[in-house]
């Protein structure tokens, strides 16, 4: 090949091509400026001028009081058990819902309503769902389990369906071509492909549910959260600090456990 002509210049982006980026970033900056006052960002210096209050709170936190550790550990264990059941029920609900919400395997007249239904489920805060079950079954862990189950199934079903929508169509067609039923296509063609991602999502939700279950203590759903809020309300900061340590240790343990499971499965 003869190279007689000049080498063309490197590509340059015109203003028209850059305009969307400028609008996006400019818009974000304007939005941050607007939100400055409502979010009370002007109070930022208080973090340093009022450091005396912080020190007092900090002193309590520095000396965690573990005298009631048996109670804390047993309550944390209760919370983990709530999270375990809440997540399990959510997985059982999210698997079929996630498949039904996937564009590539479910016809639109089912898929779109299921998607909207999941949007609604996800947009109801866990605390509100918890209150509803509290009224239905009375205060206690079961209300918390159901609140976690419903909220998590909405999130997991959406994540599951996104995993299904990104599968390779080839293996599914391979199964279809053998004369398998639609259910066989899902069991043998779809599930093996999404299994690692589904497991990963489910483990992550179990982890985060162990934390969320803490918040549900606020509405009387039992577990470590209830003890946490009782001690906060009593300004017993040393006890609070001990409880927080128990939660951190428990969540870290669960994180390590799920890492181990994940690396075995992938």
């Amino acid at each position: 090949m003869s190279v007689s002509s000049a080498v063309p210049p490197a590509p340059k982006r015109s203003l028209a091509q850059r305009a969307p980026d400028l609008v996006l970033w400019g818009g974000l900056i304007v939005l941050l400026a607007i939100a400055f006052r409502p979010a009370e960002l002007s109070k930022f210096p208080l973090l340093f001028t009022n450091s005396g209050n912080m020190q007092e709170l900090g002193r309590g936190f520095i000396k965690p009081d573990f005298t009631q550790w048996r109670l804390y550990v047993s309550m944390m264990w209760l919370t983990v058990q709530m999270a375990l059941w809440g997540t399990t029920i959510a997985i059982l609900a999210a698997a079929p819902l996630g498949l039904l919400a996937s564009r590539n395997i479910t016809p639109a007249f089912i898929q779109i309503p299921v998607r909207r239904f999941l949007d609604i489920v996800r947009s109801v805060p866990d605390l509100v769902i918890g209150m509803i079950f509290l009224v239905a079954v009375g205060p206690g862990p079961f209300a918390g389990v159901m609140a976690l189950a419903i909220g998590t199934s909405g999130v997991l079903a959406k994540l599951f369906s996104e995993a299904v929508e990104s599968i390779d169509r080839g293996p599914v067609e391979g199964v279809r071509a053998t004369g398998g039923h639609k259910l066989h296509e899902i069991v043998w063609g779809v599930i093996p492909q999404v299994a690692p991602l589904w497991t990963s999502y489910a483990l992550y939700r179990f982890e985060s549910n162990s934390r969320s279950a803490t918040v549900l203590g606020l509405i009387g759903a039992g577990g470590i959260g209830q003890v946490l809020f009782d001690s906060l309300n009593a300004f017993a900061y040393s006890n609070t600090a001990a409880i927080v340590v128990v939660i951190i240790v428990a969540v870290s343990l669960i994180d390590m456990l799920s890492q181990a499971i994940r690396s075995r499965l992938l």
């Binding site: 293996p171 391979g174 071509a177 053998t178 004369g179 039923h181 259910l183 066989h184 043998w188």
Partner: protein
């Protein structure tokens, strides 16, 4: 196994009855006509190569035969073993029965990567065993046996417990053919079965297909990019160009002029091992 030319005599069909009939089939993708009034008959025991340049409709035709995609509404019709596969743009409701008798081999093998080679091959029996056994993977003894004997026959039984995605392309493709065998397929549709393989694996796969055709009496319809493979392994060649059949006859009748007509003056490019002069 006794070598029988063109297999055993068919039991239910006339000796030269068509096992596969494609009648006036068209398929349009947007503005593009992938198939334009294609008609083709395959008799039992034939080994047919489907050739033509990229985008000529070869894959579309095979995918239509196994009803992985619909054809255009209209007079078009595909019939296999006397039963309808699809007609007038609609896939027949009994297509799953028909599919069990048609094995499909893909360019990308289409095994399920995370499942073992054995499980992938056992999937061939999905359409003919109990629904729940199939869904739960409780393979009947007959499935296990035919899966292992098919793997053994193609020299890949050593890899039965390995995940399919850890195997080489040639091993996966032989697994895919084993799956078609477990399916007890009577027709094999192979869509560019050797296009992703190295020449040695490619020849091996073509020889297996030829053997299934000669020894087991299977009807084979194979799309090929390499025309020399079509000439070497197939008795009959059907050439497609822009969705139309432009040649249908014995592979020996395909001469330089026809090839130039099909592929243009650079037709030598579609030969791996030398073009005819």
């Amino acid at each position: 196994m006794k070598p029988g030319y063109y297999g055993k005599a068919p039991k239910t069909l006339m000796p030269d009855a068509a096992v596969l009939s494609i009648r006036n089939v068209s398929k349009t993708f947007g503005q593009r006509r992938a198939l334009d009034g294609v008609s083709l008959e395959a008799t039992k025991g034939e080994m047919i190569a489907l050739i033509g340049p990229s985008g000529s409709g070869k894959s579309t035709l095979l995918r239509s035969i196994s009803a992985l995609q619909t054809i255009d509404a209209g007079p078009g019709e595909i019939v296999a073993f006397g039963g309808p596969v699809q007609k007038d743009g609609r896939i027949d409701s009994n297509v799953r029965k028909t599919r069990t008798r048609i094995g499909m081999i893909f360019q990308q093998f289409n095994l399920v990567g995370r499942l073992s080679l054995f499980t992938n091959v056992a999937l061939g029996s999905l359409g003919r065993i109990n629904f729940w056994q199939a869904a739960l993977g409780l393979w009947p003894a007959e499935t296990k046996q035919s899966a292992m004997s098919a793997l053994h026959r193609f020299g890949v039984s050593d890899y039965a417990t390995q995940r399919a995605n850890t195997l080489s392309g040639g091993q996966q493709q032989r697994g895919a053919i084993a799956r078609a065998l477990v399916q007890k397929a009577k027709i094999i549709l192979a869509d560019e079965p050797v296009a992703s393989l190295d020449p040695v694996s490619a020849r091996r796969v073509m020889e297996i297909l030829r053997e299934l055709n000669k020894n087991d009496g299977l009807t084979v319809l194979v799309t090929l990019h390499q025309v020399d493979y079509a000439l070497r392994y197939c008795d009959r060649v059907v050439a497609l160009k822009a969705g139309k059949v432009v040649y249908d006859g014995p592979s020996g009748g395909l001469k330089r002029e026809q090839l130039i007509d099909i592929y243009g003056p650079e037709f030598e490019d579609v030969f791996w091992e030398g073009a005819p002069t």
